[in-house]
Amino acid sequence: MDYRAVFQIAAAGMDLEKRRVEVAALNLANVHTTAPDGQLAYAAQKLVAKPLQVDFNRALDLAGPRLLPRDVRLVASEQVPRLVHDPGHPHANAQGFVAYASIDQVTEMASVSTALRAYEANVAVASTARAMAMKALDLGGQS
Protein backbone atom coordinates (compact mmCIF):
# COMPACT_ATOMS: atom_id res chain seq x y z
CA MET A 1 0.00 0.00 0.00
CA ASP A 2 2.98 2.29 0.27
CA TYR A 3 3.17 3.48 -3.30
CA ARG A 4 -0.59 3.66 -3.51
CA ALA A 5 -0.96 6.02 -0.56
CA VAL A 6 -0.37 9.00 -2.84
CA PHE A 7 -3.42 8.04 -4.88
CA GLN A 8 -5.58 7.93 -1.77
CA ILE A 9 -4.40 11.33 -0.65
CA ALA A 10 -4.92 12.87 -4.10
CA ALA A 11 -8.40 11.35 -4.23
CA ALA A 12 -9.26 12.95 -0.90
CA GLY A 13 -8.03 16.31 -2.19
CA MET A 14 -10.08 15.98 -5.36
CA ASP A 15 -13.11 15.07 -3.28
CA LEU A 16 -12.81 18.27 -1.27
CA GLU A 17 -12.38 20.46 -4.35
CA LYS A 18 -15.35 18.87 -6.03
CA ARG A 19 -17.45 19.65 -2.98
CA ARG A 20 -16.29 23.26 -3.04
CA VAL A 21 -17.46 23.54 -6.63
CA GLU A 22 -20.78 21.97 -5.69
CA VAL A 23 -21.28 24.45 -2.86
CA ALA A 24 -20.41 27.36 -5.16
CA ALA A 25 -22.83 26.00 -7.76
CA LEU A 26 -25.54 25.81 -5.13
CA ASN A 27 -24.89 29.40 -4.12
CA LEU A 28 -24.85 30.65 -7.71
CA ALA A 29 -28.09 28.83 -8.48
CA ASN A 30 -29.78 30.74 -5.65
CA VAL A 31 -28.54 34.18 -6.59
CA HIS A 32 -31.92 35.61 -7.49
CA THR A 33 -34.10 33.81 -4.99
CA THR A 34 -36.16 35.89 -2.67
CA ALA A 35 -37.92 35.28 0.59
CA PRO A 36 -41.38 36.45 1.59
CA ASP A 37 -41.73 39.17 4.16
CA GLY A 38 -40.68 37.94 7.57
CA GLN A 39 -38.62 34.97 6.42
CA LEU A 40 -34.87 34.91 6.08
CA ALA A 41 -33.53 34.94 2.56
CA TYR A 42 -31.08 32.26 1.36
CA ALA A 43 -27.74 32.67 3.09
CA ALA A 44 -24.59 31.79 1.17
CA GLN A 45 -23.21 28.43 2.27
CA LYS A 46 -19.52 28.05 2.88
CA LEU A 47 -17.57 24.84 3.04
CA VAL A 48 -15.35 24.69 6.10
CA ALA A 49 -12.82 21.89 6.08
CA LYS A 50 -10.41 21.21 8.90
CA PRO A 51 -7.81 18.44 8.93
CA LEU A 52 -8.21 16.50 12.14
CA GLN A 53 -4.90 14.73 12.05
CA VAL A 54 -1.67 16.29 10.89
CA ASP A 55 0.57 13.39 11.86
CA PHE A 56 2.69 12.89 8.77
CA ASN A 57 3.88 9.55 10.12
CA ARG A 58 0.38 8.11 10.14
CA ALA A 59 -0.96 9.94 7.11
CA LEU A 60 0.61 7.46 4.69
CA ASP A 61 -0.86 4.40 6.40
CA LEU A 62 -4.43 5.13 5.40
CA ALA A 63 -6.48 2.44 3.73
CA GLY A 64 -8.89 4.65 1.88
CA PRO A 65 -9.62 8.27 1.03
CA ARG A 66 -12.81 8.20 3.06
CA LEU A 67 -10.70 7.57 6.14
CA LEU A 68 -8.60 10.69 5.66
CA PRO A 69 -9.66 12.41 8.85
CA ARG A 70 -11.12 15.76 8.01
CA ASP A 71 -13.91 17.79 9.44
CA VAL A 72 -15.92 19.10 6.50
CA ARG A 73 -18.90 21.21 7.30
CA LEU A 74 -21.36 23.38 5.50
CA VAL A 75 -21.74 26.67 7.32
CA ALA A 76 -24.31 29.28 6.43
CA SER A 77 -22.62 32.66 6.38
CA GLU A 78 -24.20 35.43 8.38
CA GLN A 79 -24.91 38.24 6.04
CA VAL A 80 -27.52 40.90 5.79
CA PRO A 81 -29.78 40.11 2.86
CA ARG A 82 -29.81 42.49 -0.06
CA LEU A 83 -32.85 44.70 -0.15
CA VAL A 84 -34.08 45.80 -3.56
CA HIS A 85 -36.83 48.31 -3.93
CA ASP A 86 -39.61 46.66 -5.92
CA PRO A 87 -43.07 47.37 -4.55
CA GLY A 88 -44.84 45.27 -7.19
CA HIS A 89 -43.01 42.08 -6.23
CA PRO A 90 -45.13 39.45 -4.44
CA HIS A 91 -42.46 39.17 -1.74
CA ALA A 92 -42.15 42.88 -1.07
CA ASN A 93 -42.39 43.93 2.56
CA ALA A 94 -44.31 46.89 3.91
CA GLN A 95 -41.69 49.38 2.71
CA GLY A 96 -41.64 47.91 -0.79
CA PHE A 97 -38.27 46.17 -0.41
CA VAL A 98 -37.65 42.62 -1.53
CA ALA A 99 -35.06 40.57 0.35
CA TYR A 100 -32.77 38.82 -2.15
CA ALA A 101 -30.24 36.15 -1.24
CA SER A 102 -26.99 37.70 -0.03
CA ILE A 103 -24.62 36.02 -2.44
CA ASP A 104 -21.59 37.66 -3.96
CA GLN A 105 -21.28 36.33 -7.49
CA VAL A 106 -17.67 37.42 -7.82
CA THR A 107 -16.65 35.53 -4.71
CA GLU A 108 -18.42 32.40 -5.87
CA MET A 109 -16.83 32.53 -9.33
CA ALA A 110 -13.41 33.06 -7.74
CA SER A 111 -13.91 30.06 -5.49
CA VAL A 112 -14.95 27.97 -8.52
CA SER A 113 -11.74 28.98 -10.30
CA THR A 114 -9.50 28.25 -7.34
CA ALA A 115 -11.23 24.93 -6.73
CA LEU A 116 -10.58 24.01 -10.37
CA ARG A 117 -6.88 24.87 -10.02
CA ALA A 118 -6.57 22.85 -6.86
CA TYR A 119 -8.38 19.92 -8.54
CA GLU A 120 -5.95 20.10 -11.47
CA ALA A 121 -3.06 20.15 -9.02
CA ASN A 122 -4.34 16.99 -7.36
CA VAL A 123 -4.78 15.33 -10.74
CA ALA A 124 -1.20 16.29 -11.61
CA VAL A 125 -0.01 14.74 -8.35
CA ALA A 126 -1.83 11.49 -9.10
CA SER A 127 -0.46 11.41 -12.67
CA THR A 128 3.06 12.06 -11.42
CA ALA A 129 2.79 9.26 -8.89
CA ARG A 130 1.62 6.91 -11.64
CA ALA A 131 4.46 8.02 -13.95
CA MET A 132 6.96 7.43 -11.14
CA ALA A 133 5.66 3.92 -10.57
CA MET A 134 5.78 3.15 -14.31
CA LYS A 135 9.36 4.43 -14.49
CA ALA A 136 10.30 2.25 -11.55
CA LEU A 137 9.04 -0.75 -13.51
CA ASP A 138 11.62 0.08 -16.21
CA LEU A 139 14.50 -0.71 -13.86
CA GLY A 140 16.71 -3.35 -15.35
CA GLY A 141 14.74 -3.60 -18.56
CA GLN A 142 15.89 -3.63 -22.18
CA SER A 143 19.05 -5.60 -21.44
Binding site: A10, A11, M14, D15, F56, V123, A126, A133, M134
Partner: protein, 98 residues
Protein backbone atom coordinates in the same frame (compact mmCIF):
# COMPACT_ATOMS: atom_id res chain seq x y z
CA UNK B 1 11.95 24.50 7.47
CA UNK B 2 12.33 21.66 9.94
CA UNK B 3 13.34 18.25 8.79
CA UNK B 4 11.35 16.55 11.50
CA UNK B 5 8.59 15.58 9.11
CA UNK B 6 11.09 13.82 6.87
CA UNK B 7 12.90 12.19 9.76
CA UNK B 8 9.61 10.97 11.13
CA UNK B 9 9.22 8.60 8.21
CA UNK B 10 10.36 5.32 9.68
CA UNK B 11 12.38 3.66 6.92
CA UNK B 12 11.75 0.29 8.52
CA UNK B 13 8.08 0.69 7.70
CA UNK B 14 8.78 0.19 4.01
CA UNK B 15 9.06 -3.42 2.81
CA UNK B 16 12.56 -4.69 2.21
CA UNK B 17 13.36 -4.95 -1.46
CA UNK B 18 15.95 -7.74 -1.21
CA UNK B 19 15.11 -11.14 0.26
CA UNK B 20 16.57 -11.89 3.65
CA UNK B 21 18.94 -14.73 2.88
CA UNK B 22 19.73 -17.28 0.20
CA UNK B 23 18.12 -20.15 2.09
CA UNK B 24 14.85 -18.38 2.81
CA UNK B 25 14.82 -16.47 -0.50
CA UNK B 26 12.78 -18.95 -2.56
CA UNK B 27 9.87 -19.56 -0.15
CA UNK B 28 9.81 -15.85 0.82
CA UNK B 29 9.60 -14.76 -2.79
CA UNK B 30 6.93 -17.30 -3.69
CA UNK B 31 4.91 -16.14 -0.76
CA UNK B 32 5.31 -12.53 -1.86
CA UNK B 33 4.27 -13.37 -5.41
CA UNK B 34 1.11 -15.16 -4.30
CA UNK B 35 0.21 -12.24 -2.04
CA UNK B 36 0.74 -9.78 -4.86
CA UNK B 37 -1.40 -11.85 -7.21
CA UNK B 38 -4.28 -11.92 -4.77
CA UNK B 39 -3.89 -8.18 -4.27
CA UNK B 40 -3.95 -7.69 -8.04
CA UNK B 41 -7.10 -9.76 -8.27
CA UNK B 42 -8.69 -7.65 -5.57
CA UNK B 43 -7.61 -4.48 -7.35
CA UNK B 44 -9.20 -5.65 -10.61
CA UNK B 45 -12.40 -6.52 -8.77
CA UNK B 46 -12.53 -3.07 -7.22
CA UNK B 47 -11.99 -1.46 -10.63
CA UNK B 48 -14.78 -3.56 -12.13
CA UNK B 49 -17.15 -2.55 -9.35
CA UNK B 50 -16.28 1.08 -9.99
CA UNK B 51 -17.09 0.65 -13.68
CA UNK B 52 -20.41 -0.96 -12.83
CA UNK B 53 -21.26 1.93 -10.53
CA UNK B 54 -20.38 4.38 -13.27
CA UNK B 55 -22.48 2.53 -15.84
CA UNK B 56 -25.50 2.32 -13.56
CA UNK B 57 -25.19 5.97 -12.61
CA UNK B 58 -24.59 5.42 -8.90
CA UNK B 59 -21.00 6.63 -8.93
CA UNK B 60 -20.55 9.66 -6.70
CA UNK B 61 -17.04 10.59 -7.80
CA UNK B 62 -15.66 10.18 -11.28
CA UNK B 63 -12.08 10.65 -10.09
CA UNK B 64 -12.40 7.73 -7.68
CA UNK B 65 -13.36 5.37 -10.51
CA UNK B 66 -10.50 6.68 -12.66
CA UNK B 67 -8.00 6.24 -9.84
CA UNK B 68 -9.20 2.69 -9.22
CA UNK B 69 -8.74 1.93 -12.93
CA UNK B 70 -5.26 3.43 -12.88
CA UNK B 71 -4.28 1.43 -9.82
CA UNK B 72 -5.58 -1.77 -11.41
CA UNK B 73 -3.59 -1.04 -14.56
CA UNK B 74 -0.48 -0.30 -12.50
CA UNK B 75 -0.86 -3.52 -10.53
CA UNK B 76 -1.24 -5.41 -13.81
CA UNK B 77 1.97 -3.84 -15.15
CA UNK B 78 3.82 -4.71 -11.94
CA UNK B 79 2.67 -8.32 -12.18
CA UNK B 80 3.72 -8.60 -15.81
CA UNK B 81 7.14 -7.05 -15.11
CA UNK B 82 7.66 -9.42 -12.18
CA UNK B 83 6.82 -12.33 -14.48
CA UNK B 84 9.33 -11.09 -17.09
CA UNK B 85 12.12 -10.67 -14.55
CA UNK B 86 11.54 -14.03 -12.96
CA UNK B 87 11.55 -15.73 -16.37
CA UNK B 88 14.75 -13.91 -17.33
CA UNK B 89 16.46 -15.00 -14.14
CA UNK B 90 15.30 -18.57 -14.68
CA UNK B 91 16.57 -18.55 -18.26
CA UNK B 92 19.90 -17.15 -17.12
CA UNK B 93 20.24 -20.04 -14.72
CA UNK B 94 19.20 -22.63 -17.32
CA UNK B 95 21.76 -21.31 -19.81
CA UNK B 96 24.66 -22.10 -17.51
CA UNK B 97 26.88 -24.81 -18.95
CA UNK B 98 27.03 -27.87 -16.77
Amino acid sequence: MSLQAIQAIDLRAFPATAPAGAASAAPGFAHWVSRELSSLNQQLGVAEQGLQRLASGTATNLHEVMLELEQARLAMQVASQVRSRVLEAYQDVMRMQV
